[in-house]
């Protein structure tokens, strides 16, 4: 008898059925908002080059309700991306100290510490 293997096609909705795939797709979606925010920063640079009036207009647009809402949404997605990425770092960057593996929590903790430090430097630099 000849063989007749049956191939099942992956449905377009493959990620909707299970929590782990939905969370993964949300993580992938965050890149869209991070990219949009980067595009806004680039626009800001162009406005800065065009002179005082253009720059003030850009700042006013960012301070408008729609601008603030956009930044809050981007912040939420960027935070989700960062938190999920930090949670994965012990897998990608396992460390060993004197022959003993460094606990995953310590590796994640170091990332949060670095995040806090960089944020502090940016805040201090922005304040001066």
């Amino acid at each position: 008898m000849s063989r007749r293997p049956y191939v099942r096609k992956v449905k377009r909705s493959w990620w909707l059925g299970q929590r782990r795939y939905v969370l993964y797709m949300v993580r992938e979606l965050t890149s869209l908002f991070v990219g949009l925010y980067c595009a806004v920063l680039v626009v800001g640079l162009f406005r800065l080059v065009q002179g005082r009036a253009a720059w003030d207009g850009f700042l006013a647009a960012l301070s408008s309700p729609a601008g603030v809402l956009f930044q809050l949404v981007c912040l939420a997605f960027a935070a989700y991306h960062s938190v999920t990425w930090f949670a994965l770092t012990p897998k990608a960057m396992p460390l060993a100290l004197r022959g003993e593996p460094v606990p995953a929590r310590a590796i994640v903790g170091m990332h949060y510490a670095a995040w806090a430090l960089v944020s502090l430097i940016v805040l201090v630099a922005a304040g001066t």
Partner: protein, 247 residues
């Protein structure tokens, strides 16, 4: 009280079926039964035509991987009591063609596995008389976890990239490549890189992480692949930037 469990099993018999369809079986509930026991009960008492793979019944042969209520699991490692009072839906492993009933075609995996050269590659032929290749416990610890793979292919069924991109080398094969690359006795990193560090290798992985979640032996293929991404990137930079390096 006699309690029963209903199993819905995806059947496909190529000589009579044009496509797979579910068939229901009712088996007695036993506190200490795993899904494989229920399948064996069906095979022995209800329907001898049901086909599935199994061998050891102790989660080491890697033969009885199947989708149980949508989750890739070893049938010998999934207790019926965890599905009590619910219909248990059993399908062949996702992302593999169905040969018959719960039996899949694994040829593509065997080719991918061979392509990463999962064996020690040494630079010199050491005579047997020179003794063993000794390793310290620390050197063993570096890769031991990745030796525990039983090729059950649950990770391929869990990985969406394996379903969407047929050519993706996949979690188990890449984890084994990493295992040999980390071995202090091995010198095959460059020979494996053609496959491992290619688009179809580590770079097809988007770190879904499902492979590691379903692995019954806690091999953690997702970790192996991310670590390989870092080491392959460093190798690439070294080759591009260091003076006198081969390009």
């Amino acid at each position: 009280m006699n309690e029963d469990v209903t199993l819905e099993i995806l059947r496909y018999r190529p000589e009579i079926d044009s496509e797979p369809h579910f068939q229901s079986y009712t088996v007695p509930y036993r506190e200490d039964w795993v899904v494989l026991d229920a399948l064996n009960h069906i095979k022995d008492h209800l329907d001898a035509t049901l086909s599935y793979r199994w061998s050891c019944h102790m989660a080491i042969c890697g033969s009885c991987g199947m989708m149980i209520n949508g989750e890739p699991k070893l049938a010998c490692h999934a207790f019926l009591r965890d599905y009590r009072h619910a219909v248990v839906r059993i399908e062949p492993l996702d992302h593999f063609p169905i040969e018959r009933d719960l039996v899949t075609v694994m040829d593509s995996f065997m080719e991918k596995l061979a392509s990463v050269k999962p064996y020690l590659i040494t630079t010199e032929n050491k005579p047997l008389g020179d003794g063993e290749n000794l390793q310290t416990p620390l050197q063993l610890m570096a890769f031991k976890q990745y030796t525990l793979c039983i090729n059950c292919l649950l990770c391929y069924a869990a990985c969406p990239q394996c379903g969407l991109n047929e050519s993706f080398v996949g979690p188990a094969a890449l984890a084994l490549a990493h295992r040999y690359n980390l071995d202090s006795r091995d010198a095959g990193n460059e020979q494996r890189a053609d496959v491992v560090a290619s688009n179809e290798g580590i770079w097809e992985c988007t770190f879904v992480g499902a492979c590691s979640e379903v692995c019954p032996k806690h091999v953690d293929p997702a970790a192996a692949i991310q670590q390989t991404k870092i080491s392959a990137s460093l190798d690439w930079f070294k080759a591009q930037l260091l003076p006198g390096a081969q390009r």
